[in-house]
Amino acid sequence: MNRALRAAVVLGAGLLAALLVAAILALPVPAVRLPALVAAHLPASGVTHPVTAVLLNFRGYDTLLEVAVLALALVGLLAQSPPRELTHAPSPGEPVLPLLARVLVPFLILSAGYLLWAGAHRPGGAFQAGAVLAAAAVVLHLARLWPAWDRPGRGLRLGLVGGLLLFLAVAAALLAGGTLLRYPPQLAGTLILLIEIGLTVSLGLLLAGLFLFLAEPRSL
Amino acid sequence: MTASQWLPLAVLASSLLPGLLIFALPEERIGLRTALNLFGAVAKLTLVGVLLVGVQAGNTYSVGYTVLPGVDLMFKADALALLFVSLSSVLWLLTTLYAIGYLEGSPHRSRFFGFFSLCVTATMGIAMAANLFTFFVFYELLTLSTYPLVVHRGSGAALRGGTIYLAYTLGGGALLLTGIVWLHSLVGQVEFTHRGVLSPLSPHYADQLRMIFLLLIAGVGVKAALVPLHGWLPNAMVAPAPVSALLHAVAVVKAGAFGIIRIVYEIYGVEFAQSLNLLLPLAVAASVTIIWGSLRALAQDDLKRRLAYSTVSQVSYITLGVALFGPVGTIGGLVHLVHQGIMKITLFFCAGNYAETLGTHKVSEMNGAGRRMPATTLAFSIAALGMIGAPLTAGAVSKAWLSDGAQALGLEWVGWVLLASSLLNAAYFLPILYRVWLKPAPARWPQEHSAAQGWRETTWLLLLPPLLTAAATLAAGIYADSEFSPLAWAQLIARREYLTPVP
């Protein structure tokens, strides 16, 4: 890229920053206050933690699409992973001590379970739980206790998108009743928990997959 | 749907449907393809006959379909439309026969006949268009469906000719479209109406209307080969003979000339066009074209190119007639639309026969061809004499009415133009006649066709069409005063346009 263009980009970035800062310092008070609305409808949402209520009920549709994004990224990534080359130099970097991993992983799995359970009424939920599960897998891999993944079999594929399919199934069942993702109030908590369990497993696998399908094959 | 609605559609369908079916036919289904072609042509003729009787009795035939709000695809079979429709459908039948003989054994015939039928359909659509939108739709369709015919042979020359053809016609189409939409934005949709529709507009718009006129005439002028928009026509002569005959002597150039008639008479109206001072420039442009085309024709040795320049010149007779403000000139122009078609197609058929049988493409190679191919040469001679305006031919009738029209207006120079043109016509046709009849034949023809042995100079499929059209040339001249002659029909149209007694 030539010098003039670089200068223009830097200048433009500076200008944008100045404008943005000026704009946000001069911002008026918004007309709509969603926190009040969230609080007002929280009892009908099936959970007591507001973020979970927004994530899986009020704006659950966003979450549905977001899980699709994650699944999609994995499909796209699988299309890019070439057949494994076995003649490969040892991976660089220090492996995490296996002992640490053996201690850490059970703890991580436990905390994932806790996060999943806690999500209904306090910070936590499927995303965090799934992420922690994925982290556990990554740690295991780095400790050379878990191999990188090659082509997934049908079982793993089902696990990867199972959460999405479960979510879709619930959405479809509710839509058959007239409205997309409209939980009957008495069932809301149960359905959300069901979806979250599915998501935890799938998100864990998906997030782990993002790493493990790409990772260097390491000797165990 | 009443008969008055489906008849115009049936006229379109009678070539469109066979055309589409032919596309789907495998190359070797010759019999079926021929049957489809002839069936379509005969059916169309029948339908046109019904229409002719009906229109003469004063019936109206129209049908429309709304495409956009305030924009209709609309067809109307009025007297003027039928003049062009009957010409095209008669000549389509003859040219189909000719083409079947001409293309025997050559490749891609399904494609050829398919596009050929589409061209005829487009011509019918142009003739029966009831408004400028519809006219434009079929005008562009004609461009598109002619292109594959021009490049049919796929040689370098054919491809080049096709590109030049497209450059001119698509450019012209763009001008035409601009003019049409401009007019549309001024006055909304206007139907072709006798005596025009624009005269009630306030004088405030006069300048815009002049600009629009220029755009419209330039747009259709490309196909009508008005100088300086004529450059595509000689180059398009690389197409096979039937294409040159029907499309470049009849369909395409006539579509342009026909458009000029519609625009002057039924959009602007002659009186209104005259009041905007538009007719005189048009007459001048036509005159320049007449002279220029003839002069260029003189210089050509290639027979088809000479004929092409002759077409440039002759088609502008129609424009000239239109531009001569007054019923007499109008009749001259209208009748020439038919007469020129008959005569010029004869010449192209004959040129094709010479090339096919003897391999002669140049005037200088044609010495003595008359003795080798007397029937073809007879037809050629009649048509050439007609072009010059010799007595008893169709050409004489057109020229007489045109010069009378000019005289009625007191435009003396038009008379001189016509005279000069006739002299030039003679100058480039008579030497050919001299060569073919009176000069000795060469020992060897450039590329004699072995199949044409014995007394027959070529197959009857190639011979019959030019003989028939040559006969028609004579008939239209001799029986000009009869009830069903082109002249009578032109008078009928002029009566309806001017609403005045017509001589």
Binding site: P92, G93, P123, F127, V138 | -
Partner: protein, 86 residues
């Protein structure tokens, strides 16, 4: 105003680590800077009373993304061909 001071310091630290991520010559260091940035983001989310995001940021933003990046740098390094600059 203890908290405001902390916020400002954290902001500066965020920007510094971000700048370092982009400006440092070595790719491994850049990725490490990015992981530091991610951990600082966890603090920022905590300061914004967003524990859910802080958890997710720790696990995903810093953890998983960092691991992915590190692994990729290693991969690119291992296969680097002559004349290819990081």
């Amino acid at each position: 105003m203890m908290s405001l001071t902390f916020d400002l310091l954290l902001g500066v630290a965020l920007l510094w680590s971000a700048w370092h991520t982009l400006a440092t010559a070595d790719l491994i260091r850049a990725v490490v800077s990015f992981i530091v940035f991610g951990l600082l983001m966890v603090l920022a989310w905590a300061r914004l009373d967003a524990p859910d995001i802080a958890l997710a940021e720790a696990a995903i933003g810093a953890g998983l993304t960092g691991a992915l990046l590190l692994d990729s740098v290693g991969h690119l390094r291992a296969r680097r061909r002559p004349g290819d600059n990081g």
